[in-house]
């Protein structure tokens, strides 16, 4: 199938995991709608044969809110990127978490603006090189998963494109949970991020993610023991699963 992704891009893996999770749910294609904003990650719906809206930069979630509120019986899945969701779309994101609207949002976080050629995003790590942080990023990044928890989402987890099985299960858990679900998927972008940050090819970036991801249980244990949490490592796993009042949930 012709697509726009670079060789070694991690987005394809996340799309596969998401589609596998959707298949597990046994949903009819005609009852499932994919919605996205703008970015490499947001091109995903164009490769899926269901009704889909490829919208404007940052606005996928409010478009999805309109679809879901007027047809709660439809299953609505949003694909977005770290720039799309957390920069230009940050306000929509936190309000959707607050409303706890029944959507599943899969955010492909590649630390960078991929589509426009590798500029810094709100998720670019401190010190990382991008075309707009040529001397190293000096803004502290967002922790998207924690942000979603604080803002009220019912289900939040983070995995990476290395953790294919876990990621698939997490998306499925998100699809099953009524209310707002965020699955943050860290992905390699060899073109925009890796090659400027000593992770030249996809393989080395996948290994980097494997080696820097710490399972949630271990992370919490370290926290409890007061052991210093390494700055370049990050927790993966389930951040929250709860039952706050939600919107747009279909009536049984």
């Amino acid at each position: 199938m012709p697509h726009i992704y670079c060789t070694g891009c991690g987005n394809g893996t996340v799309i596969n995991c998401t589609l596998n999770a959707v298949n597990q749910m046994g949903w009819e294609p005609e009852d499932t709608v994919f919605i996205s904003g703008i970015g490499c990650s947001s091109r995903a719906p164009g490769y899926i044969v269901t009704d889909s809206l490829h919208t404007t930069h940052g606005r996928a979630i409010p478009f999805a809110t309109g679809v879901k509120l007027s047809r709660p019986d439809l299953h609505v899945v949003v694909f977005t990127g770290d720039g799309d969701m957390a920069a230009i779309g940050g306000n929509h994101f936190i309000h959707a978490c607050r409303r706890n609207i029944d959507l599943t949002v899969v955010c492909m976080n590649n630390y960078i603006y991929g589509m426009t050629g590798g500029q810094g995003s709100p998720c670019t790590p401190l010190g990382a090189i991008s075309t707009t942080t040529p001397y190293g990023c000096h803004e502290a990044p967002f922790d998207l998963a924690s942000l979603a928890v604080a803002a009220g989402a019912n289900y939040v987890s983070r995995w990476t494109s290395y953790h294919v099985k876990e990621l698939t299960r997490a998306v499925q858990a998100g699809l099953e949970t009524p209310g707002f679900s965020l699955v943050e998927a860290l992905v390699q972008c060899p073109t925009g991020y890796g090659r400027r940050n000593k992770l030249r090819d996809a393989h080395s970036m996948i290994l980097w993610m494997r080696d820097h991801a710490v399972l949630m249980k271990k992370w919490k244990q370290m926290e409890a023991e007061g052991r210093p949490l390494p700055a370049d490592k990050f927790p993966v796993g389930e951040f929250v699963r709860r039952n706050r009042p939600a919107m747009g949930v279909p009536e049984e």
Binding site: E30, I35, S52, L53, T55, R59, T65, G66, S70, H92
Partner: protein
């Protein structure tokens, strides 16, 4: 059978929308449009519809477009600052041919300007405000009665041509109370569904494709990128882009006559007022007071697409006087369609032209 009410313009607007079958409203409060949202918040849940207050106007129009793809008649209401925020997604609605109705209760700008005073300063922003070559539909009510009728009509036009349709009203019409005759039912012209098996963005002779409602098995991909007739991005082929943009503009501009809706008084007049919205009320009074068949009036109920041919009905016209609550936005449009001199008659600050001032201006040209 009709029933009589004494309604505020914004109430009539909301009720006209409901009568037309509007079942989704996404909005954000802003003076002087807020009463539309408040009325919809009360009424929509009672008729099986959805009201949602979004976090801003970017989100409001996005939610409206999303809801429209599920087949619901959808609307929002705002004023200048919010209207500016909606421009990008309005372009998306134009590119994706999404029916939706946007009410702009105009107030004095630029910027936050005069929140509580009337203006017609957004007439050109409505027409050209979103980027790229575009065409849209705009109606402009001159009374509370017309707020009801033209809002209902806006839904029909938007569904018929699959283009955002604007109710370009102003603070005066929106906040005044008038007697209104509410009909039992309004005419409803629904969007034409896409024939199963047909390409989703292939249009017939009228330039308007059938609508593939979400959730009915069409499997349609909708994108704001330049797309082919299947709906898939094709953003580098000059021919695909040329064909698409010409069709999007042509389907609206080509239907000027079909859509035209205006009122002519004294077609043999030499001095002719051209107006729309609240200034039309002062014109009506001025023409009546002058009682001189050399003074006539053209009042537009549909402003965009502009009915240029209506100017030709005034075969004796020596001058067109265009009173507006702006510095001459539609006066420019009038001038671009006639060789007869055109004189803008601006009024800024929120007060309506007095009939006496208009009569005095007309006399200068008699």
């Amino acid at each position: 059978m009709t029933r009589l009410e004494f309604w505020q313009g914004n109430t009539a607007c909301a009720e006209g929308a409901l009568a037309a079958g509007c079942r989704f409203f996404g909005g954000y409060p802003i003076t002087p449009s807020t009463e539309v949202a408040e009325h919809m918040a009360r009424r929509l849940p009672k008729v099986g519809g959805v009201f949602v207050q979004m976090e801003d106007e970017l989100a409001s129009i996005a939610s409206v477009i999303g809801a429209s793809w599920t087949g619901k008649r959808s609307m929002t209401a705002t004023s200048g600052p919010g209207f500016s925020l909606m421009m990008e997604n309005l372009g998306y609605a134009i590119m994706t041919e999404t029916p939706c109705v946007v009410v702009n209760v105009q107030r004095g700008g630029p910027s936050t300007g005069q929140p509580t005073r009337a203006s017609q300063g957004d007439m050109m922003q409505c027409r050209f405000g979103s980027h790229g070559d575009i065409a849209v539909i705009a109606v402009s009510p001159g009374s509370v009665q017309e707020m009801y009728e033209l809002t209902a009509k806006a839904f029909n036009l938007s569904d018929r041509y699959r283009v955002p349709t604007f109710v370009m009203t102003d603070e005066i019409i929106a906040h005044m109370r008038e007697r209104i005759e509410v009909p039992d039912a309004v005419e409803i012209v629904e969007r034409r569904p896409l024939e199963k098996g047909a390409l989703p963005f292939a249009a017939g002779e009228d330039g308007v494709p059938g609508f593939p409602t979400f959730g009915q098995g069409y499997g349609v991909h909708v994108t704001g990128l330049t797309h082919d007739e299947r709906g898939y991005p094709s953003s580098t082929d000059p021919e695909v882009h040329d064909r698409l943009v010409r069709r999007l503009v042509g389907k609206v501009e080509g239907a000027r006559r079909e859509m035209a809706d205006y009122e002519v008084t004294n077609p043999d007049a030499e001095v002719v007022f051209v107006s729309y919205g609240s200034p039309g009320r002062s014109v009506k009074q001025a023409v009546r007071d002058m009682d001189d068949e050399r003074v006539g009036s053209l009042r537009l109920r549909v402003v965009w697409p502009f009915p240029d041919f209506a100017l030709q009905e005034f075969t004796n016209a020596r001058v067109f006087l265009v009173p507006e609550l702006n510095l001459g936005q539609i006066a420019r449009e009038v001038a671009s369609h006639t060789a007869v001199p055109v004189v803008p008659v601006p009024e800024l600050g929120g007060e309506l032209h007095t009939p006496a001032r208009l009569a005095k201006t007309a006399e200068e040209y008699l």
